[in-house]
Each structure stands twice: as C-alpha cells, then as structure tokens.
C-alpha cells in the first residue's frame, strides 16, 4: 500500500509537466525542450516566494505565474518567429533556450549551482491510509495535481478557450478560417501549459525538499517519454501514461531494487510500447 501511494505521488510529479508539454506539442507540433526550463524557473520562483512567505500555496501561485510568463515569452520571442521554418529549427532553438535558462540560473550571481534546501511545512496533516502514511508534502503534491487536472478538464470541455484550443490543435488553418483567433489560442496554450510546468516545478521542489539549477535535466526528456507513451498531442493519454510509468518504476524497484536506473526503466517501457503500439498507448494511428 505504501508503494502504491509512493507511485501515485511520483506519477503526480510527472503528470503536470507532461500534460503541459503535450498541449503545446498538440497545438504547435514543436518539440518544446525548453518546457523543462520553464519548470525549473517555476521551481525557483516558488522557492523564493516560499522563502519570503513560508507558504507553499504562495509558492505555487508564484511558480505558476512565473511559468506562464516565461513560457509565453519563449513563444512570443522565439517560436512565433520560427513557425514557418523547418521543424528542426525550433527544436534547436528550444534546446538552446533550455541550456541558457539552466546556465543563467546556475550562475553564482543568480541562484548558484548548489542544491538549495527547501524544507517546507505545507500545513497539511499526515494521513493514514490502510496502514500506510501520506506525508504532508506528498499530500500537497496529490492535492495540487488533482485540483489542477480538474481545472484543466473543465477549461478544456466547458470553456470557449478550450474549444479554440481543440480546434486549433486539430487544424490550425481551418480553425483560423472559422473565426478562431489562432494567435490567441496558441499564446494561451503556452501560458496555461507553462503554468502547469511551473506548478510541477514547485510540487517537485516541495516533495524533494530542494531546488537546483539542473533539476530539469531528467524531466526534460522523461516528460517526452510520457507524452510519446500517451500518444503525442493528446491530453488524457499523458495523464494515464504518467501514472503507468510511476507504478511500473515503483513496482520494479520494490521487488528487484535498483536493477537499473529509474530513468532507464522509462526508456525501456517506451521502446516496448513503440514496438507494440507505435501510436502510443492512447494515440490514434494516423492515416
């Protein structure tokens, strides 16, 4: 039971990042590596906000705002100028942006390359579930993830902007011809997807009790594994894939120890899925 809860929390730390990434891929078809940079910025702003106020909730709001802003800036300053370029151009730009974000953050005059401690008090209880316990930090991760996923689902299904996102993602030109403000749909997708990345950064910081400038390294590619597993561009797919991956990792480690590094497990699963089901677990095969 404890392992199941650990896996659930771990999956939650994956899911917010992956969903935002998948939304952005869905609308722009860009391999947005710098998404992990947005995540790191979110974590650091959350860290600073927590340092000022001691509140993980203020940290969350700060991290999400910083995420939305930096994600939107990356779009407005970079991708928007590259929309007509071959697809490797925005990819390289994205890798460059990610490296710049990390290296700037790690400068001694900014945040430094040391891992910084963030031992928070989320103000939540320790909950017992069937003999297992959920720590306050884990509960924070679970609550934040559930609330944000719910809000996203409502936004997608019940709001005009959600409709415009879906329309633009399915066919940008047709959506534009039908009166959808494509520009607004793309920019807002970036803002919302990046706010989720910022939230992911803050929840991971709380859960791992620290931030550091290169915390986005592993997530930068692991989020892609989840997005590809879930079916590129889908939104529900990555949610399920994130939890599938977290449970698979936890089960393997619980029963066999660290027979191979955690991130290798992710890629192993990816390879197997791509062989058996090239369109991902939930993607539709393209004609």
């Amino acid at each position: 039971m404890q392992d199941a809860l650990t896996a659930l929390t771990l999956g939650s730390t994956y899911v917010l990042l992956a969903v935002g990434l998948s939304m952005i891929y869905g609308i722009l078809r860009i391999i947005h590596v710098a998404h992990a940079g947005v995540y790191t910025i979110g974590a650091y702003v959350g860290y600073l906000a927590w340092g000022q106020t001691g509140s993980v909730w203020v940290a969350l709001v700060g991290g999400m705002a910083a995420g939305a802003l930096s994600g939107w800036l990356i779009y407005a300053l970079m991708y928007r100028r590259l929309l007509e370029a071959p697809r490797y151009v925005p990819l390289i730009a994205s890798i460059g942006a990610f490296i710049v974000i990390q290296d700037l953050l790690s400068k001694p005059w900014l945040m430094g390359s040391d891992r910084l401690a963030m031992q928070t008090d989320p103000g939540l209880p320790t909950v017992g579930v069937l003999g297992a316990t959920v720590s306050p930090e884990a509960l924070y991760v679970l609550v934040v993830t559930a609330a944000l996923l719910l809000a996203l689902a409502v936004l997608f299904r019940r709001s005009d902007i959600g409709l415009q996102w879906r329309a633009t993602a399915s066919d940008r030109e047709l959506a534009g011809a039908s009166g959808v403000s494509v520009e607004r749909a793309i920019a807002s997708t970036f803002a919302v997807g990046s706010a989720l990345a910022g939230a992911a950064g803050v929840t991971v910081a709380v859960y791992t009790e620290s931030v550091f400038a290169f915390m986005g390294e592993v997530p930068s590619y692991k989020a892609f594994v989840i997005v590809v597993l879930g079916g590129l561009g889908a939104v529900l797919g990555p949610v399920v894939a994130a939890f599938v991956l977290a449970f698979a990792e936890t089960l393997l480690i619980a029963n066999a120890g660290f027979v191979l590094p955690r991130d290798a497990i992710a890629f192993l699963i990816l390879v197997i899925v791509l062989i058996v089901r090239p369109q991902g677990l939930f993607g539709r095969a393209r004609a």
Partner: protein, 404 residues
C-alpha cells in the same frame, strides 16, 4: 568523493543534450580555459618551490574542487608565513580538471613539462588522479593524492603518495562502529553504485559478517537517484538497528529526509562523502544523529586543527570539510618532503617522505605512511548534533586502521 547533485547533473547533461557540437564546443572551451588557467609563479625556481595542483573547480564537483584549492592556498600561506621551506617561498600552480580524466592527464603533462613544478598535489577524485599518477611517476615527479580513494593510485610508483583514508580502512572502522559502539545486531546496507560505495561496502560487509552481525538487507542505488522511499520501505520492514549508507551528502540528505518521512528508526551510519555542511543544510533536523566516518575532527583540541577550521571559515565564509583538510595536509606533506630533501631531487624527496612519521601541523592526524604509501591515522566518526558536526568516537586498533 564527489558532490552528488552535481554528479547527477553531469550525467543527465550528457544524456539530455543531443547535439554533439555542444559537447565538443564545451570540451574545446574547457581545454582553452585549462590552457590559460595556470597561475604561474613566474619566478621559475630561484627563491621559490613550485607546487602544482589540479582540482575540479568547475563542473559538477566544483564545490569539492574549490574546497581543495582554498585549503591548499591556506596551507601555502601558513608555510610561507613561517618562513617558507628553508627560506624559499611556496608557490601554487593551480589547474582546473573539471572532473575529466583526459583533462587531468593533459594537466599532468603540462605541470611536468611546461610549468616544471617541483612536486604535485591531486585535489581531485579517483578517476582524474588515476589518469595523472602514471604521468608523474614516469616523469619521476612526486605526486601526493589528497582524497582520492582508489587503492591502485599509489601502486604505479614510489613517487605517488596519499593522504586520504582507503575505502578498505574506512569500511572496517564503520563495521566496528556499527557492531560495538552502536551495539547493532541487525544491519541494513544501502550504497551508491560506484567505486567509492562498492569499496566501502565490501570492507564493511566483510567485517560485519566476520564479527557476528546479521545483514538483513543489502542493496545499491544509482548515483543520480533521488527517491529512496520504496527501498527504505523495504528496509523498514526488516527493522534493522543500523543502516549503513555509503554515498555523498546529497544522497545522504535525501535518505535522511525520506527515512524520517517513513518513520524508519535505524541509526544511519555514513561515510566521508557525508562530510559537508551541505548535508545539514539540506536535511535540517533530519540530519540530527547521523554518524559517519571521516578524517576531520571538529572537536579536536589540536591547535593545528583549530587553526585550520577557523582559518578556512575566515578565508571563505563557509565551514571547512574533510576534502579541504586532506588537501591541506597534502600541501603540508609536500613542504615536508622538500624540507627533508633539501631540494627538488625526486629520489631525495621520496627518501624524505619515507621518513615522515607524525606530520607536523597535520589536520587529519597523519602518524605515518604504510608500505604502499598510504597515510595512517586514527579512525574517526563524527555525529550531527545541534546542527553541527561533533566527535562521536575514535578508533586506535592497528588491525582496523592500518592501510596496506
């Protein structure tokens, strides 16, 4: 030793940065930096002795590298303030190896041929030190390794010496600590999967088995791992008295935080990789009570140690660690060798080193050297208490603490 956050960083960097050109450019840049990184004394002998040192002052191990270089500078200042070695001043020639073995080899060539240093100090990890040692030995230059643990380093020639404590010694001391001092019956092991963790664990495991301890769990983890909850849950189910967890301060902080979260009661026993103020910073109150084997005794009444601790903090604004203490001693030993040799002749330097018993002013308490040129000292365990490191126990039994 190494700094885990950063190691993780380097590893993941490698795997997540596809364009080879970035790596190539970084390598070129780093080489360029190394090429102009030497702080040459310029005096070319005359009134000075030149000590070459390489350490990772950039890259993932930068905090250890800086600690090593700052401590080396402190030692040089100390020797020079006392009149130098027979009236000659010591000068440091510093290079950054960025934790890359090939770079360390290039630096070793440069220190020998270009800078023509009189003696060299490694302020770097095992892989870099292992790459550099044969070059110094072949060129008949003395090199003193500060804290690299690989036993093979000193075996390439009689020019190569070591201050640090071998894994085989430190693991045994931890075994004694676990069974006798802590009265552990059931012991769990969770170690970092590299030379450092494996070497320590082997010595610890052998000692515990031979002395009647019961090992109830024995597993390893990858260096970059951050989430130990699942394995710690498994260990908790076996209810061990002691958890021996060789690794670095970053791993240790995660293990301590998550063990507290899960309510694991076992006494955590660590290793010299824990010896950094960052451990207490990252784990806070969860670090309290952790005991680890190391070489720097914060409660020592020895004036040399007190001087080093206060001098380092004054110079850098942060507290000293074991890596720094070992590098400080390496420079002192270099000065001692020059003094005994009365010059820079390699043969005389080696003869001089063979005669060193208790190293004067030593911060890690060197009392002599073994046949394989490894430093001998009392075993030491420190405990985290009140947000600081304090002495927990010392070990004098020669069968425990004598290196090969």
């Amino acid at each position: 030793m190494s700094t885990p956050s950063a190691v993780r960083l380097q590893r993941s960097r490698r795997s997540s940065r596809p364009p080879a050109i970035v790596t190539a450019a970084a390598a070129l840049l780093a080489l360029g930096l190394a090429a102009c990184g030497g702080e040459d004394s310029g005096a070319g002998g005359g009134g000075t002795y030149k000590i070459g040192i390489f350490a990772p002052t950039t890259g993932f191990a930068a905090s250890d590298g800086k600690s090593a270089v700052n401590s080396a500078k402190l030692a040089v200042e100390k020797v020079n303030a006392a009149g130098g070695v027979q009236g000659k001043e010591l000068k440091l020639v510093v290079y950054d190896d960025a934790s890359k073995p090939d770079q360390a080899a290039t630096i070793a060539q440069k220190l020998v041929r270009q800078d023509n240093v009189d003696i060299a100090v490694s302020g770097s990890y095992s892989a870099q030190t292992r790459a550099a040692a044969p070059i110094f030995a072949r060129s008949n230059k003395v090199m003193i390794a500060a804290y690299a643990v690989d036993p093979e380093i000193t075996q390439v020639g009689e020019q190569i010496w070591r201050i640090g404590e071998l894994a085989s010694v430190q693991g045994k001391v931890a075994g004694k600590l676990a069974l006798d001092n802590l009265k552990g019956k059931k012991v769990a092991i969770l170690y970092v999967d590299n030379d450092f963790g494996t070497g320590l664990t082997k010595a610890f495991r052998d000692y515990v088995k031979q002395n009647g301890g019961q090992i109830v769990s024995d597993s390893k983890y990858p260096l970059e791992e951050k989430d130990f909850r699942t394995v710690l849950g498994g260990i908790k189910a076996k209810s061990p008295d002691v958890l021996y967890a060789p690794g670095y301060y970053n791993n240790a902080a995660d293990i301590a935080n998550q063990a507290a979260e899960l309510g694991l009661k076992a006494q955590i026993v660590g290793v010299e990789g824990y010896d950094s103020p960052k451990l207490i910073d990252l784990a806070g109150k969860n670090a309290e009570g952790i005991i680890f084997t190391t070489e720097l005794d914060r409660d020592s009444s020895n004036p040399a140690v007190k001087d080093f601790l206060s001098g380092y903090e004054k110079k850098t604004g942060v507290k000293a660690d074991a890596v720094g203490a070992e590098t400080y001693d390496a420079v002192l030993l270099a000065a001692e060798a020059l003094k005994r040799a009365g010059g820079t002749d390699a043969k005389k330097l080696v003869e001089g080193l063979k005669e060193v018993k208790a190293l004067e002013g030593s911060v890690t308490g060197i009392t002599g050297f073994s046949p394989q040129r490894n430093g001998i000292r009392e075993g030491l365990a420190q405990v985290v208490k009140g947000g600081d490191f304090h002495r927990y126990a010392t070990f004098r039994d020669p069968s425990l603490i004598t290196p090969p």
